[in-house]
């Protein structure tokens, strides 16, 4: 989502963070899928390691964006979006886990690998919803 940031430093920093998040997300998907197919040996472990590191990098870039943005209101909205997204993702996956445990035939198994992807999608939705609430009206 494009934030109307006037400050050039903020805009540049946001772009860098978005590029880092995009690359780490692609790496995460590619390596986690590869590690599912390569079950044994150092290649599988390496793929899993890269997937884990890229997810960590994604969280770090989000953290940097939240802490270093100079526009404090944008920072508040971003933090609110990430907190809501984390809570919703945790709630959804916990409920899914319990359903899987007590009624295994009703839902398919959700691999842990998909949780970061769910977090990304829910974060995008939360950002859209929260930023729309504060969209400035015309003067």
């Amino acid at each position: 989502m494009c934030l109307p940031i006037r400050n050039a430093a903020d805009r540049r920093f946001r772009c860098q963070c978005q590029i880092a998040t995009g690359i780490s997300l692609i790496l995460y998907v590619a390596c986690s899928q590869a590690s599912i197919r390569i079950h044994n040996g150092p290649a599988g472990l390496t793929m899993a390691g890269i997937a884990g590191a890229s997810f960590f990098a994604e969280l770090v870039s989000v953290g940097l964006l939240v802490t270093r943005l100079r526009d404090e209101f944008q920072r508040v909205l971003l933090t609110r979006s990430f907190v809501w997204a984390t809570l919703i993702t945790m709630a959804l996956t916990t409920i899914w886990g319990f359903v899987e445990l007590h009624a295994p035939r009703t839902v398919p198994h959700l691999n842990v690998i998909w949780i970061p992807m769910i977090l990304v999608v829910v974060t995008a939705g939360a950002k859209l919803f929260i930023f729309r609430q504060y969209r400035p009206e015309n003067e």
Partner: protein
């Protein structure tokens, strides 16, 4: 918290975008402060006071 941002801005014939540029924030931020949806930090409040050349209490009030 109430503020006179809209009035002070109008007196100077500044748009929200003009004020946002001067404060180095987004127009969304200026709008949120003006409409009372967001109370700025002390840092931003002092920046506003400096920009309008007024003491804080002439811009913000708690009633």
């Amino acid at each position: 918290m109430n503020n006179r941002l809209r009035v002070l801005r109008a007196e100077r014939k500044w748009s929200q975008a003009d004020l946002a540029q001067r404060l180095e924030v987004s127009r969304q931020s200026v709008n949120a402060i003006e409409t009372g949806k967001y109370d700025p930090s002390l840092r931003l409040a002092f920046k506003l006071a400096k920009l309008f050349e007024l003491p804080l209490e002439q811009i913000f009030s708690d009633h």
